[in-house]
Symmetry: C2
């Protein structure tokens, strides 16, 4: 572990890891308080957090400049440094994000369903918080506030583990969050930040901190993904990869196919809903395909194709076998010609990550089949994969996109951070 | 492993375990077929299964008699042998159970929610099957048919692992289920039974059979519970224990308190929704408490109480510390006097298993607090804990009760055996 990764000077790593172990118990106790906190109390905390962030702006920027300096010295790439960097404007945006979460409806206590039984029992399915949520993320300080606030609004305690390069900035932000919690009379342990850059802490969280963590939300790169796959002993809401496909069927409108594909790939290439592979019916390679490829290249996208695709545009580079199933997260796309919807769906089943796939076609029957049979969290007809986003779905805010099958699938917003219980009201009923 | 546990004479245990490993891949392939099977196809399979069970009745009874003989020789207790035993009547009941599942609405394809976005995108949350479900259960041959059928109706492939004493009977039943699947053109791998009594197979299932099992449903005693806790690497729908509480508040109607408590404990003592502990306000021990204890003892229940409780009836035995938090599953109840709802909820939080708890009171405010603050899958006001049952909830049939917090909580019926995906329909929308 290089010195750039561990900047705290107080205490040994072993002390820090013992502190992590005790965070689980503190979080569980805080979760019990949060579970019955009123909407008003939670919203007051969020508003006070926003205020504290604004008041603490200068100190945050100062500490962030130090984090940035160390990260630059450690030769982090420019995109990494940009995500780590805060400005006055970005801090204001974070504060406004907290205020926006306060405005969202409180999911806790909402009645999802209710019905009456012939014996007079009234049964209601009522939303309750999940409990303790562990979030492991990269060096993006804004996530510290966003994720903590979303967990709080849904009545959950959060244990946050930020990327090590952003530790000092995140600690400063958490100080502001704690001020907000205190102002509303809520326990500080409702939002805790792992105070060490020691990667052993991630392993401890993935094992559940002695049964105290109910779910882990990972947000990060390949090395984290592999650790989660190998080590997680608690449920995970998250996606390992977003290998999203656009399939242009032979009955697609050419102009729509071009616009949607370019948007799906190029609007933002670094998000998980960005298209990574284009599948296109062989029969329309010359008509639709050439125009789509031309538009992608005009936008600065590198196009890698199979032989058929290379035949329509000599600027297309040869695709290798590993290009199918690669999450480029960059201005690169793999393009393959297919013999129809069946072959497209087979390709998606084989190489996809069950995240988001789109079909472009004017044939309603083919679209219905694709939407029904493709086993992904989100399937779209005639729309860009970049809509794979909680905000775009109308959920207000999201903590990530889940590709697992249980509990949360697709955007993970406030409702997905809750569970439910059955509340049964009777008048002395006994079971015969 | 005693000879009574492994009766199959073909192949070594190692061969059998290799067969188990390959069941995961076969189940996954079958799940792909089931995911798009029509309701009609699934219902035809269920009807044909019922017919095959009736046709195979004599053969099933013959094999069951052999299983019973071996279990009796191995000195299994009478209640165990009763659960293992099939009769013509019980086989008919199993067949009718399959027909009842065919009558239930198909959860797959149901639209849970749909909405339209300002940009014109129509978003629907649509139920889809979970995938591959592993079920580990005791020597109750009827579960083989019930569990397999419920999984099938929800579009899932099932890998069943029955108690070893019922293996030959269950294999015979699965032969009938396969005949039903074949009659409807569905793959036999939709319902597979682990063909070995080797307990290593349970460990393999708990590890997920190479990522092919999506969820495990355990139904069994303490030894299975401990294995699940220690070894499960896939999500689990189930309860470890059902330590259910009845709390009689001082504002309870005395007659209702008596009737509900006796029903909660004594209607059937062996089910997970049976009450194990009675908490009663100290102020009404003499008025309500004495009558409840008298009624329990009159019904043949052993009552173990703290000193205060023993003061009102000299037949009450002293409760030990381990009685709180014990799932007796028998005509035994632990009774404790408490100082009010707060102390009752503290006791439940400390000793309960988050399964089912009831409050008896005419005070609506106290009831509301109990229903809101007690963190159990099912909370009841003025009704018996024995209503903790999918059938009683109106779900038609259940595979068990879940006390975990994620995905399924409370009765696990057809809907809980599904997940969902987002289906988005557009007209060429791109994201700005």
């Amino acid at each position: 572990m290089s010195v750039a990764f561990s900047m705290r000077e107080t205490g040994s790593s072993e002390d820090d890891l013992q502190a992590v172990e005790s965070m689980g118990r503190a979080a569980r106790a805080a979760a019990d308080v949060l579970a019955t906190a009123t909407t008003d109390t939670k919203n007051r905390a969020l508003a006070a957090m926003a205020g504290a962030l604004r008041d603490g702006r200068d100190r945050i920027l100062e500490v962030n400049a130090e984090d940035l300096h160390r990260a630059a010295t450690a030769r982090r790439p420019a995109a990494f440094l940009d995500r780590l960097k805060l400005t006055a404007g970005r801090i204001e945006a974070v504060a406004q994000g907290l205020e926006a979460i306060a405005e969202l409806p409180d999911p806790v206590g909402a009645v999802i369903a209710d019905w009456k039984r012939p014996n007079g029992l009234r049964i209601a399915r009522v939303r309750v918080p999940l409990g303790v949520i562990g979030i492991i993320y990269e060096s993006r300080p804004n996530v510290t506030a966003d994720a903590g606030a979303l967990c709080l609004k849904a009545g959950n305690a959060a244990i946050l583990r930020c990327g090590s390069d952003s530790l000092e900035t995140s600690l400063e932000i958490v100080t502001c969050l704690h001020a907000g919690l205190a102002a509303a009379g809520l326990p500080e342990a409702a939002i805790q930040l792992v105070p060490t850059a020691d990667r052993a802490a991630v392993g401890m969280m993935l094992k559940g901190l002695g049964g105290t963590i109910d779910v882990i939300v990972p947000r990060g790169g390949r090395s984290l993904v592999e650790r989660v796959q190998n080590e997680a002993r608690v449920p995970v809401f998250g996606h390992l990869e977003g290998i999203c496909h656009v399939y242009v069927h032979e009955a697609a409108d050419p102009e729509m196919a071009r616009a949607v594909t370019v948007n799906a790939k190029m609007r933002r290439t670094g998000i998980c809903g960005a298209a990574e592979t284009l599948l296109i019916d062989r029969s329309i390679l010359d008509s639709h395909g050439a125009a789509i490829i031309d538009a992608l290249i005009a936008e600065g996208c590198e196009v890698r194709g199979d032989d058929a695709v290379r035949g329509v545009d000599r600027r297309v580079l040869p695709a290798s076998d590993t290009d199918w199933g690669t999450e480029f997260l960059d201005a690169v796309i793999a393009v393959r010609a297919v013999g129809g919807v069946e072959e497209a769906m087979e390709h998606i089943a084989r190489y996809g990550s069950q995240h988001t796939e789109a079909i472009i076609t004017d044939d309603e029957a083919v679209a219905a089949r694709f939407l029904r049979e493709v086993d992904s969290a989100i399937v779209l007809h005639n729309a860009s994969t970049q809509f794979a986003d909680g905000g775009e779905f109308g959920m207000g805010a999201e903590i990530g996109i889940a590709t697992g099958r249980l509990h949360a699938r697709g955007p993970v917003g406030l409702e997905q951070l809750t569970t439910f219980k059955y509340v049964v009201r009777g008048s002395g009923q006994t079971r015969p």
